[in-house]
Symmetry: C2
Subunit: 205 residues, 2 copies
């Protein structure tokens, strides 16, 4: 794609680096922004700059927060003995939206993925081990993606925590609510048979 | 969607206003940017600001340009007697990419669309009429979308130019190259029969 304007080219370059955005969509966004009010676009520009400058991460659980300690970690009503390990901020939001979890979180910031050059040292696993060794943590719930990277990371954390007196559990894998048995893949169906639960448990909403 | 951080909420708000971007994609973009280098994100922020501050539009054809007169209008080798009327900058790029057009352009900046509150006064139609009345323009080629808005705008421009000695043509509507007759809609097929061309013409690549 050739552009008659350097500025447009630069703007398209930046937008097209976003995940899942191609050059055509990027140009569409740029042309949309050109038509907007100057104030609106300047606000957008300021917010982007602030993202790197002003954004804070919770010192306890490493999630994105406006304060040094996030609202969940600062809440005395949450169960601080139960730590749910997740990949990123979106997963915290997803679990919070269920309204069923009353413990606290630990955000890894990614998953172990040698293909992408992400090793254990790039994640907050050390900080999790420290938390377990120091604190009153009784249960670690691994809530990571059911992918190769997720499983690898689960296993690594499990091994790291082997010497401590802490229960390590993983969220259930199985047939999604509303799904039909017939169309479920073999691995998922196999797992959900192996990890069957007493009937009364499965009625808990 | 509830966010634990005001800053994230603002950033998601801005991204989700872009055409075709929902809140989930917006959050994905924001989380991606947080992981990028500060310089990279600051550059992005600067480019956005520059979009409204420094972007110029060609004084002759109203397309986006880095100069007062765009490269096409400033090129003496282009045919300045032939003016192709298009909706926006993307259409200029699309036609330039064909490599088959040697005339100049006139960018309307939109299409007449009462539903969206866009009337003839919001477009550069007056400037087109001026160009025709003053200049050496011999042919106006209407290259607008084959939609209701495009057809309305074509008709409006055609009426406006009725008093001048200028040929007004419209780009051919018909079956796209590579398409099958069977799956073409009736209106398009009907038009392509009405506007059939001598066989030799249709071989021009």
């Amino acid at each position: 794609m050739e552009f008659s304007s350097k500025l447009i080219e630069q703007a398209v370059h930046h937008f097209s680096r976003l995940p899942g955005v191609g050059k055509k969509s990027a140009l569409r966004y740029v042309l949309y922004l050109i038509k907007q009010q100057t104030d609106e676009v300047n606000d957008f520009s300021d917010v982007l700059r602030a993202l790197k400058q002003d954004l804070k991460f919770c010192k306890t659980c490493h999630t994105i927060s406006d304060h040094d300690i996030c609202d969940v970690c600062a809440n005395p009503l949450r169960n601080h003995q139960q730590v749910c390990v997740v990949q990123d901020y979106r997963d915290v939001m997803a679990i919070e939206n269920t309204g069923l979890y009353k413990g606290v979180y630990h955000v890894l910031g990614g998953l172990i993925s040698p293909m992408d050059g992400i090793g254990p040292a790039n994640l907050t696993i050390e900080s999790l081990v420290e938390k377990v060794s120091e604190g009153p943590v009784q249960e670690i719930i691994l809530a990571l993606n059911a992918t190769m990277e997720g499983e690898t990371t689960c296993f690594y954390i499990y091994k790291k925590l082997a010497g401590f007196e802490v229960a390590v559990s993983s969220i259930a894998r199985g047939i999604a609510v509303g799904d039909e048995l017939e169309y479920t893949d073999e691995v998922t169906l196999g797992r959900s048979i192996q990890n069957r639960v007493p009937y009364t448990n499965s009625l808990v909403k």
